[in-house]
């Protein structure tokens, strides 16, 4: 176990290193921040001073080396726009995105898993067919459109829920959270549901497919031959086998929820990281973009690692050692 953990760690470091190159070069290609940062009326001396200040006069490889140097110390440089460390700027926004992503994921699991189980166990019922057709909508309707519709129906027409912002927040673990207050929760509901829609469909369809795959297996028949209750067969024998693909998808999708909540955050003016990254891209705020992308890389690498560890807990046939 220990050996394979170290192997995985070294692999992870290489992945992160490779990503730094891609991210750094990529960001340099999308535009020159100087055009945006410097007042067009500034004179040449002023321009050169600013360029030198941000180190943009250096050759690319030298900028990259400086960036790596900072990275080792956890320093992604200062934001061009806010003049503050990029990392702390992002971390400030992290709780907002995190609670949005977690809420969305919970909604997706709580709705998707039972419906998927039901549709898998009783595939011929009309209700199952309705669920499956519904999930196609969840897949194919664009997020931004659904978001706008949600606002129109629940905020504008029915006036049940607010349209934007995080509402009142309360402090917990040194960060501000919306879900701890009633008002904040009402602000969280619509964006979380919006973000959850696609994932719900995904989990639903995956669960159904899994059930259909497991049910005809001999070991399910044998479990029936033992005289087990249907409940035990479904919730222990079937569900435990389903957990393996589900954990993979849920883990990876959690990453993508955090990384790609941009659209939802923009529509609901949710002050999370997604909104920050969109603003930073528009302003070509390189340190923030780079820091954000690096955080996402680390997030995905970390999630993958956790998923692998979960496998060994869920599936006795998988042992990390065996891969060595």
């Amino acid at each position: 176990m220990a050996v394979s953990l170290i192997r995985r760690l070294i692999q992870a470091i290489f992945v992160i290193l490779a990503m730094t190159v891609i991210v750094f070069v990529g960001v340099n290609v999308i535009g020159n921040p100087v055009d945006i940062l410097i007042n067009p009326d500034a004179n040449q001396a002023e321009r050169l001073r600013v360029i030198a200040h941000y180190g943009l006069d250096q050759p690319l490889w030298k900028q990259y080396m400086l960036f790596l140097q900072g990275l080792v110390h956890g320093d992604f440089g200062n934001s061009f726009v806010y003049g503050r460390p990029a990392l702390s700027l992002i971390l400030e926004r992290l709780p907002a995105t995190l609670e949005l992503a977690i809420s969305a994921l919970l909604i997706a699991i709580v709705i998707g898993l039972p419906l998927g189980l039901y549709a898998g166990l009783y595939p011929n019922r009309i209700s199952s067919r309705l669920i499956m057709s519904g999930s196609i909508l969840g897949f194919s309707l664009p997020t931004f459109w659904v978001g706008l519709m949600l606002i129109m129906v629940f905020a504008v027409e029915l006036r049940w829920l607010p349209t934007n912002g995080r509402g009142a927040t309360a402090e917990f673990l040194g960060a501000q959270w919306s879900f701890l207050t009633r008002n904040g929760l009402s602000h969280l509901l619509l964006p979380a549901f919006n973000l959850a829609l696609f994932k719900t469909s995904l989990i639903l369809r995956l669960t159904r497919a899994g059930v259909q795959e497991v049910l005809p297996q001999d070991y399910i028949k044998f479990a029936r031959a033992k005289g087990l209750s249907e409940r035990r067969i479904v919730f222990v024998h079937v569900l435990k086998n389903l957990m393996i693909p589900l954990v993979t998808i849920i883990g990876l999708e959690f990453g993508s929820l955090i990384a790609f909540s941009v659209v939802t955050e923009s529509i609901f003016a949710w002050p999370g990281m997604g909104k920050l990254i969109i603003d930073s891209i528009n302003l070509l705020d390189r340190p923030v973009i780079v820091a954000y992308l690096m955080m996402m890389v680390i997030l995905f690498v970390g999630l993958n690692f956790i998923i692998d560890v979960c496998y060994t807990l869920l599936d006795p046939r998988v042992r990390l050692d065996a891969k060595a």
């Binding site: 001999d218 070991y219 044998f222 033992k226 005289g227 024998h237 435990k240 086998n241 006795p316």
Partner: protein, 324 residues
């Protein structure tokens, strides 16, 4: 004393109204503590007969008509709840492929203990003890440790022992063994058969041993029933049926056993293959492969009784096999 199991005119149909009769009018009786060998080629309906008795048919299979009287209860029509109470408790089943019958993500202990708890409200510790004893009984070394092992840590033969241990847990009145040794190699086969014989004799359990292997049947069974294309074609005591087969198909099966051939001669075989149940010719379904068939065989022969034995043929074989 009435028979433990009496199957009367059992018809099992796949796909309602399509006329796909996997089991067509099968009748037999089985007394307590006796062993019935249910013999036939692949597709003859012998396994479907077994699963019909357990009421564990794969969809769209269903019992279309007939009675399965088990100790006075008609299994063909009894409630699903009653069936669940009987399965594992009074009627158990051992499957063909031991690699597939145990749930890969649950420990062997869990799968044994749940089988105990499905029928008896005992404390978990007691159930665990019963499970351990059951493993010991079927000859698994160090049963205490093996309880916490997963199926993949067992060999095929050991897994089949576990399955047999589960089947015997509640000392059932009847075990349906669906080719339980077919997937094992020969030395293990013999061990398993001996163990099985010993244990079922001890607990006075009646057995339906489904197989295509006449050597096993001659060793184990009291009675034999030969199936062809969904119908019983010959039935009687082992000595009668194997010693002086009346039906040409039974004779063909016996002649196909390699030890019946002289060294250097080509192995004998029954020409042709079992017809598919959706393309059965009218009349005797064996006539296309039979060397004794005449015009008259285009009508379906009824079972002709000769004391305690019966065969379904207009032109029965006379005398012992070897004289042919």
């Amino acid at each position: 004393m009435s028979a433990l199991l009496e199957v009367r005119n059992l018809v099992t149909e796949f796909g309602k109204g399509l006329g796909l009769l996997a089991v067509n009018g099968v009748s037999f009786t089985l007394d307590r503590g006796k062993v019935l060998g249910l013999v036939g080629e692949s597709g003859s309906g012998k396994s479907v007969t077994g699963f019909s008795i357990m009421r564990l048919l794969d969809k769209p299979g269903r019992i279309a008509s007939g009675q399965i009287l088990f100790d006075g209860v008609d299994l063909a029509t009894t409630s699903e709840g009653e069936m669940r109470r009987l399965r594992g408790k009074r009627i158990a089943m051992v499957f063909q492929d031991p690699m597939m019958t145990l749930n890969p993500v649950l420990t062997v202990g869990t799968q044994l203990i749940e089988a105990v708890l499905a029928h008896e409200a005992v404390p978990k510790e007691v159930a665990r003890q019963r499970a351990r004893d059951a493993l010991g009984l079927v000859g698994i070394p160090s049963p205490e440790e093996r309880l916490s092992a997963y199926p993949h840590e067992f060999s095929g033969g050991m897994r089949q022992r576990v399955a047999i241990a589960i089947a015997l847990l509640h000392r059932p009145d009847l075990i349906i063994a669906d080719e339980p040794t077919t997937a094992l190699d020969v030395t293990i086969q013999s061990q398993i058969i001996s163990e099985f014989q010993r244990l079922t004799e001890q607990s006075k359990t009646a057995v339906i041993w489904i197989t295509h292997d006449l050597a096993i049947v001659s060793r184990l069974a009291d009675e034999i029933a030969v199936m062809y294309a969904g119908r019983l074609v010959e039935t009687g005591s082992v000595a009668h049926v194997l010693g002086t087969p009346r039906h040409p198909y039974t004779r063909g099966l016996i002649m196909s056993v390699p030890s019946q051939n002289r060294r250097g001669e080509p192995l004998r075989q029954i020409p042709g293959i079992t017809p598919a149940i959706n393309r059965l010719p009218p009349g005797c379904s064996f006539r296309a492969r039979c060397d004794r068939a005449t015009e008259g065989c285009s009508a379906m022969p009824e079972l002709s009784w000769e004391g305690a034995r019966a065969y379904r043929c207009f032109h029965p074989v006379e005398g012992p096999t070897h004289e042919r």
